[in-house]
């Protein structure tokens, strides 16, 4: 008996030790690790239609998911080699910091305390969706602005900046309120629909996407009050310049492609055009014909072509998941190109 018990403890000790043995990959960039593995591990939400949502066939789809594909296309030349990890809001930074995922593309708000080395110390790519926190109320409730919510219960999800913004907005107006806090958005929605709260709060995009699943969406309105700026961006763990540069320029690539009118459908024609006409220097540089501009990033010179083939340009990605014909139509507003009156723009590929 003693013998068997010691054998079991010995075995479990060995198991525990071997489980700890996958640590410390030195100072090499994560990009090399991703290439060696042949697969990108991308943290997503999986629960927000339009951004990342599990489809009937078991695949994920959405704007955040397309960005994962774009990163995979740029780093390992294959947009399908992505392993999606659905994460809750509180889990996401720990998963990123411990290296369980390579990068996070999960409706994450870019702010100082997350970016700074003394805070979460992560590294943000450019903003891919400019959002703002809003409030959803019943159309017939008579609630028209924040002031009407004085002393009322408001359903809110935990572990997000949402809670803090809600507090900032109400505190600055001197209005008391009661937060009813749930762990995830589905419960927030259930609490709101069951009448526990007079309003629910989240990013306006998420409110729109949640409302699209309601039985009678037209009976609910998003208030005009915008509680916060929510610039959503993909991010990687800090201190890995090669990876964060690669992510930054992949995002700029899809934006620049929209500016230059390069789409998933015409990218191969454009490439041919660039190869045949040496005078199209800007196009040649962008698509990686000649020169070695992209090698500076540690990516292949034609990574832009791979990315556009995989996902199309920014406008195409947006319309696919959030456009007027999609399941979650959200007006483009701030997310239009700068020349169209929005704030989406990219520095030059030079």
């Amino acid at each position: 008996m003693t013998k068997r018990r010691s054998l079991i403890s010995l075995l479990s000790a060995c198991l525990a030790i071997s489980a700890c043995a996958t640590l410390g990959d030195g100072d090499a960039s994560r990009v090399d690790l991703i290439r060696k593995r042949g697969e990108l591990r991308c943290g997503v939400s999986g629960k927000i239609p339009g951004f990342s949502f599990l489809q009937r066939d078991g695949s994920y789809a959405g704007l955040d998911v397309d960005l994962c594909k774009a990163f995979a296309a740029a780093i390992i030349d294959d947009p399908s080699k992505v392993q999606y990890r659905p994460l809750t809001a509180p889990e996401r930074f720990t998963a990123l910091k411990t290296g369980e995922i390579d990068l996070l593309s999960r409706n994450t708000t870019f702010n100082l305390s997350r970016d700074a080395a003394g805070g979460n110390g992560v590294s943000f790519a450019p903003v891919v969706f400019h959002d703002g926190q809003g409030l959803l109320v019943q159309r017939n409730s008579g609630i028209r602005s924040l002031k009407d919510l004085k002393g009322q219960s408001i359903c809110v999800g935990s572990g997000t900046t949402t809670e803090q913004n809600l507090n900032d907005a109400f505190q600055s107006l001197g209005l008391p309120y009661k937060p009813i806090k749930y762990q995830d958005l589905n419960q927030v929605v259930a609490g709101y629909l069951q009448g526990r709260c007079q309003a629910m709060t989240s990013d306006r995009s998420q409110l729109a996407s949640a409302r699209s699943g309601f039985e009678r969406p037209e009976q609910h309105v998003i208030l005009g009050d915008i509680l916060s700026k929510e610039p959503l961006a993909p991010l990687s763990s800090g201190g890995d310049q090669q990876l964060s540069d690669a992510m930054r320029w992949v995002v700029y690539a899809v934006i620049t492609a929209e500016e230059m009118g390069i789409t998933q459908a015409n990218v191969d024609n454009k490439l041919q055009e660039a190869q045949n006409n040496p005078d199209l220097t800007k196009l040649r540089r962008f698509l990686g014909v000649g020169g070695d501009l992209k090698k500076k990033l540690g990516l292949s010179n034609d990574f832009v072509v791979n990315v556009i083939r995989a996902t199309g340009n920014y406008g195409e990605i947006y319309n696919r998941h959030l456009g007027p014909d999609s399941a979650v139509p959200i007006p483009r507003g701030l997310n239009q190109l700068h020349r169209d009156g929005g704030v989406i723009t990219a520095p030059p590929f030079q």
Binding site: A13, S153, E163, A190
Partner: protein, 299 residues
């Protein structure tokens, strides 16, 4: 008695265990440094910046995170203490009913225990909250006159106002743990020799009195240890309150962790808080053990 030998095996095991602990601690330290996280508890004294839906002590979003954690710990304590009382009443009632002479009572108790023990607690909590309590009308209804008022905005019993979140966690935890306690009580009652039951029944003593004076005192030594472990389970299960929007310790630490990014410190505080809570319960049970069981054994 075997011949004494040099304890090679024990020494090897001890070394192995110590090495393992060392590796784990070292791993933690190395990785904290590698990811630039380093332990720090300064954030505890920063303003929390979030409101709490219920609090027994005065609390403002401008108060420190430490204060928010303490207030939420008291919320946890409150729901745990109330649930322990309610679960014990339910459990003892149902456990005794399973050994009752009344067949209807026996069947009902068996049904309760059977049903509740087969369903995960999280599911039951979600049911109590989203279906039972939030399914109530928004205008208060008073089924028993002025004693109780029920609505999906809150519950009032004898003028005592409870939030629906608190009520759902209280009922969920009590009903779930009550079923487990019923089994503990039944086991305890079964440990009393059949002759004791027959003895008091043949003397014409009523069931209730016989249970109280004859059977329970003898069953308690078997019941109490298992009972305290049920209480500890109840305390730990209370963390599921986050699923139904109750501002307990776990829910509030969860928010604090995300706002500060201090996961390891947050979990350390959680660990210590629950350790304190469970030591409290354990201590209480040991006192009870001493008061109740020893005199009973002496007789």
């Amino acid at each position: 008695m075997k011949r004494k030998r040099f304890p090679w095996l024990e020494i090897v095991l001890l070394i192995l265990v110590l090495t393992l602990v060392g590796i784990l601690v070292n791993n933690l330290a190395v990785n904290l440094i590698r990811t630039g996280l380093g332990l720090s508890f300064e954030w505890l004294w920063q303003p929390a910046g979030f409101a709490l839906s219920e609090h027994t002590l005065p609390y403002q979003p401008g108060d420190s995170t430490a204060w928010a954690l303490l207030v939420s710990w008291l919320n946890s304590l409150r729901v745990i203490a109330c649930s322990i009382v309610l679960a014990t009443v339910l459990g003892v009632g149902a456990g005794a009913a399973r050994r009752s002479l009344n067949p209807l009572l026996r069947q009902l108790a068996a049904l309760y225990v059977g049903l509740i023990r087969q369903i995960p607690l999280l599911l039951q909590l979600l049911f109590w909250y989203f279906v039972a309590f939030l399914g109530l009308p928004s205008e208060p209804m008073a089924p028993v006159g002025a004693l109780i008022s029920l609505s999906n905005q809150g519950v009032a019993i004898l003028g005592l106002n409870l939030s629906v979140e608190f009520s759902a966690v209280l009922v969920g935890l009590s009903v779930f743990t009550g079923a487990a306690i019923a089994e503990v009580v039944r086991g305890g009652l079964d440990s009393v020799p059949k002759g004791q039951w027959e003895a008091f029944r043949s003397l014409g003593i009523s069931e209730l009195l016989g249970l109280k004076k004859v059977v329970l005192p003898q069953a308690l030594p078997a019941i109490l240890p298992a009972l305290s472990s049920q209480y500890l389970n109840l305390a730990k299960n209370s963390t599921l309150a986050i699923a139904v929007g109750f501002a307990d310790l776990y829910a509030v630490s969860d928010t604090a962790i995300t706002q500060t990014g201090r996961a390891i410190e947050g979990f350390l505080i959680l660990l210590l808080s629950f350790l304190a809570l469970n030591l409290l319960i354990n201590g209480g049970m040991q006192v009870l053990n001493r008061i109740v069981v020893r005199p009973a054994q002496r007789t």
